[in-house]
């Protein structure tokens, strides 16, 4: 058995143990079907949020299918077509939209079926810009389409044994496809490079857990900003697992109590608990809202200084 596989199994065992310890209140008995909403999903969003503040919560907004939310899932199908058929992104988009019944399912397909010409264009605009940035990214562009595997689902999932807990990591492309282990690379698209190490670590851990194999490298592409590469070592995976365990504890605390400790910061402004969080209130009084560094004469709400 290759070293990367041995290490992959070791990471699975370690994750099973460490995540299992903090999620004991969420068992998954064998053969029992758990409703989707009851499963703790430790995805990149949850991990990133917990990394900032263990008490943080999302806004109350209900998930809505939009062009931007659907961009990545549709974009991966378009990207695969661009690479397989050697066509431009717009031609690939049109054929993917034509074949949507075969390529997509469930809520996404139902939503796409409701779109008229203007809606398809709005979705298409998001998709082609996203796809073009990824397709032209030199680490991918120089690989033939058989040398890289575009993951249509865009994620690597692993269910924690005995727990109603799922670790979900982003992964857009695996490369090269089907060649020797030392070349295993994950390509991930992220909105920016501010926390590229976190993204890379979570993707690497997700791969290690779902495939029981440690990858060699993660490349993170932020289309607007550039790219960063990370070799996968024990430090990267260890930090990623620590964040996942913290995120699991944060989710458990939010559902079952006691209240997790808060770390106040700019992110408080997007947290639905802000009004009732003492730490957030103190922070807000000490940090005036700034817009790109400037304090306005009159605050009219919102912010452009990022989260």
């Amino acid at each position: 058995v290759s070293d990367h596989r041995i290490r992959g199994v070791e990471w699975r065992d370690r994750a099973t143990d460490e995540i299992g310890q903090v999620t004991g209140m969420f068992p998954r008995p064998p053969e029992m079907k758990i409703p989707w909403d009851d499963i703790i999903k430790l995805d990149l969003h949850v991990v990133r949020r917990a990394d900032r503040c263990l008490r943080a919560a999302d806004p109350d907004d209900e998930y809505q299918e939009t062009a931007r939310n659907a961009r990545r899932r549709v974009g991966l199908a378009v990207l695969r077509r661009v690479r397989e058929d050697g066509v431009d992104p717009i031609a690939a988009l049109r054929s993917v939209l034509d074949e949507r019944d075969r390529l997509f399912t469930g809520r996404l397909l139902a939503w796409m079926d409701t779109l008229g010409p203007g809606g398809r264009a709005a979705l298409g605009a998001e998709v082609v810009t996203w796809v073009a940035s990824l397709a032209s990214w030199s680490p991918l562009a120089r690989l033939g389409h058989r040398e890289a595997d575009v993951l249509l689902e865009g994620t690597l999932d692993w269910d924690v044994p005995g727990r109603a807990v799922k670790v979900r990591a982003p992964a857009d492309v695996l490369a090269p496809h089907g060649v020797r282990p030392p070349d295993r690379r994950i390509m991930v698209v992220a909105p920016n490079l501010h926390d590229a190490d976190l993204v890379a670590g979570h993707a690497a851990l997700g791969y290690a857990l779902s495939r029981a194999s440690v990858p060699a490298q993660v490349a993170v592409l932020a289309p607007a900003s550039g790219a960063a590469r990370f070799g996968v070592d024990e430090e990267l995976l260890g930090a990623a697992l620590s964040r996942v365990v913290a995120a699991a504890a944060s989710v458990v605390a939010a559902r079952m109590g006691p209240e997790a400790p808060a770390t106040a910061g700019r992110w408080c402004r997007w947290c639905r608990l802000e009004a009732e969080c003492a730490e957030a209130q103190v922070w807000a009084t000490q940090h005036p809202v700034r817009f790109g560094g400037l304090v306005p004469i009159t605050v009219r709400g919102g912010a452009d200084d990022g989260g």
């Binding site: 939009t66 049109r94 203007g118 264009a121 560094g293 004469i297 009219r300 452009d304 200084d305």
Partner: protein, 326 residues
């Protein structure tokens, strides 16, 4: 006497020209020197900015605003409430996106409503539904005109250009303490393609010469992101199907860099707490602080300039760069 027949300068003609006669590449060494110099100068300025004010952000409209009037800049921070001009701008961007991706249809209003709904732009839809009949009619009339302009001046854009609506660029300098952002209404060619690289700024109104400064800033930020400058940046105005193309060379990049640094000087000082200076200018009449600004009020008595009349164009784009990219 009718004017002699002449080919109008259009987006379609520009793309054909670029394909037929690609501009020679810029001097890469000179470009690298310039971006290095700009980066060093910008980072030196940010060093003196207090940590609590970081990161600083310098989108194009803030450069223009800072250089016009500092007090107006501080008064206008934050998202603008929707207005007819902003909604018109959003719709124009969507029409351009539709034109180059799936193609427009005669059902302009239905397509725009569908696009806004698909994007989750419920605030814009609400604004449209709550506006009066006259405003709605103006909006759809403008949209019909945009569609005509696109068909006449653009024609079908070949897919090989890899047209990319609302392509965003974000460059972090000084370890992320200074963030430069741009959203190109449309990028075609360039990285990933074997075609010349054109960045297009879409204006819902009419073209004006002041757009050049914005275009040059785009070219600088694009160069910082991709390591090479775009071949041409251009502003296309839907109201008159006008096109202002600007070829990019080292000289134009340097002009943009010097203007950006001048604005950054002011940004850093204001972020550190200096009182804003007041400079009456043609945009005073739209400043939220006008009622409390004597020099601004006094300036209203001055005759209006041509650039005042097209201020709506700038308002149209304010949200686009700063917020969501649209």
């Amino acid at each position: 006497v009718p004017s002699p027949a002449a080919d109008r300068f259009t987006v379609g003609a520009l793309l054909d020209d670029l394909l037929r006669s690609p501009p020679p590449p810029a001097d890469q060494e000179a470009v690298a020197d310039l971006t290095r110099w700009f980066t060093e100068e910008a980072e030196a300025r940010v060093q003196v900015c207090p940590p609590e004010a970081r990161p600083l952000r310098l989108p194009k409209q803030r450069i223009e605003s800072l250089l016009a009037c500092e007090r107006m800049t501080l008064a206008q921070l934050g998202p603008l409430p929707l207005s007819e001009a902003l909604v018109r701008g959003r719709c124009t961007d969507l029409q351009v996106a539709q034109h180059v991706t799936t193609g427009s249809t005669p059902e302009v209003e239905a397509d725009l409503r569908d696009a806004l709904l698909t994007r989750g732009d419920n605030d814009v839809l609400a604004w449209i539904d709550e506006s009066g009949d006259e405003a709605r009619q103006r909006l759809w009339r403008h949209a019909e005109h945009v569609r005509s302009s696109l068909r006449a001046g653009w024609g079908q854009v070949d897919g090989s250009w890899w047209a990319r609506p609302q392509e965003r660029v974000q460059v972090g300098l000084a370890g992320g303490d200074l963030v430069l952002t741009c959203t190109f209404d449309l990028a075609v060619g360039g990285p990933g393609t074997d075609r010349p690289w054109l960045l297009l700024e879409v204006k819902a109104g009419s073209a004006r010469d002041g757009n050049r400064s914005d275009l040059l800033w785009y070219s600088l930020v694009a160069t910082l992101r991709h390591g090479r400058p775009p071949d041409v940046v251009a502003a296309w105005s839907a109201a008159d199907d006008g096109l202002v193309p600007v070829p990019i060379g080292v000289g134009s990049l340097e002009a943009a860099a010097r203007r950006g640094l001048a604005a950054l000087d002011r940004l850093v000082e204001l972020a550190a707490g200096r009182e804003p200076e007041v400079r009456p200018n043609g945009r005073c009449r739209w400043c939220p602080e006008l009622d409390r600004c004597e020099p601004g009020l006094a300036s209203l008595d001055a005759p209006r300039t041509a650039s005042d009349a097209t201020y709506l164009d700038e308002e149209l784009d304010l949200l686009a760069d700063e917020e969501t990219g649209w």
